[in-house]
Point group: none
Chain length 191, copies 4
DNA sequence: GCCTAATCGAGACGGTACGTCGAGTCTTATT
DNA sequence: AATAAGACTCGACGTACCGTCTCGATTAGGC
């Protein structure tokens, strides 16, 4: 058992996951995690600095975006709407965790960096292909920076998250795609 | 001394302010505040429900937006840039507090509403006038929903705040105004 | 409630007493005491430095010798035997606590002093009167230092305690009184 | 390496000895011993039940009385004083260990027996010869139970140990021998 | 000018969670 | 087969805040 036992790690991460969704970040205690994982607190603290680090690890390992799968709907608008809906789901799924962590992240910059790296990353690809297809289809006049477009989408979702909270209805998706993303991408492609 | 002593209120709010900037929201304790304000914890809890409420009060009273004062620069682009810069400053100034609070807000919806009310409120006006002036000047082809525009601006700033953190350089302002706000407002006005 | 609440103190001391006799010093935890006294650990640590100090306090307040009351039996031998039996009882009653504490006392000299002060103190008187009566009755040729005599008795009991443990049978009392105390006091009085 | 390696045993006992004198029984941990002896905890627990057993073993092997060597001084008083001084030294040397162990011994009767066996054992002989010589010299009127005498001496030293602590000055030796042992042995021999 | 009542400081209280430590067990790789 | 290394469970430790509470002392305005 000389190296860290991966089985214990699993058990602890699993217990953490469960408790996160049952009681939330704030009301979840290390003792609870230990008890549920049939682990000792020492084992937890041997691997992670504290609760925030543990939860960030959970997020990174378990909550990673599954790629919103830019399904090809035939039109740019349809593709963007699909991606946007995926983004809403993802943010909605993680937001409790991330917001629960946020105050801690202020004083743990390194932790914040780690978490950020896992926040966009993969999703970005999901928007590049629809745009490229649209260019090929002549739906767009010229090439467009997909990264920038994705950033705007992300900003819209998080803003909604912060100032209104879930759920994200279809009217929010429609308004965002038709009122912001499409006008923008069109404007950019003709610039 | 029959009514609540307003002097104590001041002392408590001041102490809270100081501690917030010295140690941050999380590591600030009610005991610290009481000691620094030479007040008793009872006095604090008599006026506020708890730490979050107290801090929200501090934010509302002390941190309120000074109105980014959409100075008339003669062009829509200049006006929007001015507003956007003001928004950056405001968010930068408050973000620590707001993020510190955020996890609490998840379980205190009423508190969240109070805070939100103080988050945009006044700023919104600052963007309506530039837009109206631009319409008058024929810089814009038609009327535009200033609220929507302001929301986008806010979303961009908060997104930057969350995923990169301060400071917000001039290139961020330029990119946002030229790459997003101007194209959007133009597109909307011709729709 | 400004000063320390004496009722809580009682409850804590009582709980400590009970647990000491139920599980012994070593296996008694502060958490147990707190739970049984319906007190919080903080309250305990506010008054006492730690477990040893608490237990010493218990000993001092609750276990104090009730004065073995040298009942006047008419003869010096009878009186000494009575005192000696009382001493046996007292030591037997306290020995578990004291031995439980002893290792701690090594590194807490001040605590050790406090405890020692409560170990003989009162008992000493119990042996002075029998001796004085014996002198009056001409049973003893001259005056005798009662303190010294008591010390010998105490030494005998503790030695028995350490090297054999309880119980102390009547043959131990007889042997001690007839074989040691009486010969000694006789020798001293004729010196 | 099939059988238990005696070299490891030595290393462990040595490390235990060192630590006992450096930090005392209570603050010495098995991990420390293991680290210092470059041994593994498993190796320690394979040989000894636990810390108390290990320390008792150390005491038995390393701290055994070297026989206070009842040097023949020509007089019973001189011989007894010599033995008594030796006893003081021995007890002083071991007392930290024994007191450190004492609380554990309460719940480990077998261990207590083992330790007791090593506490008097040899010393007893040291007092028999002086007494026999004194009888031969006609210094004593009749035979005396040396064991009983030794017990009294031991009781005096331990009592002093417990209620005052070291060091044992010459006045303690003088008072004990002249005030207690000599009167007693005289009284016994004429009985 | 006094009295009654509200408010104050101080800080003890029951709780809950923290992060650390030591004991004793068990696993793996080495010798 | 016994070892060194060290991870493991368990449970106690002592600390820090939380939000509630009970004290006297202090200060108001109504008499």
């Amino acid at each position: 058992m000389a190296p860290f036992d991966p089985e214990r790690e699993r058990a602890i991460l699993d217990a953490t996951m469960e408790l996160l969704s049952e009681v939330g970040y704030d009301r979840m205690s290390i003792d609870q995690i230990a008890k549920r994982a049939k682990a000792s607190k020492a084992t937890i603290y041997r691997r992670w600095q504290g609760k925030p680090e543990l939860v960030v690890d959970v997020i990174c390992r378990r909550f990673d975006m599954d790629g919103p799968e830019g399904a090809d709907t035939g039109s740019l608008r349809g593709d963007l709407a699909a991606v946007f809906r995926g983004l809403c789901e993802t943010v909605e799924r993680k937001h409790t965790l991330i917001i629960g962590l946020s105050s801690t992240l202020l004083s743990h910059q390194e932790l914040a960096r780690t978490l950020r790296a896992h926040l966009h990353a993969r999703d970005f690809d999901a928007v590049r292909e629809p745009v490229e297809r649209a260019v090929k289809r002549r739906e767009l006049a010229g090439p467009v920076d997909a990264r920038r477009l994705f950033t705007i989408a992300e900003a819209l979702v998080w803003h909604r998250m912060i100032f209104a909270g879930p759920p994200f209805g279809p009217e929010f998706v429609a308004e965002s795609v038709d009122g912001v993303l499409m006008p923008l991408v069109t404007a950019w492609s003709t610039a």
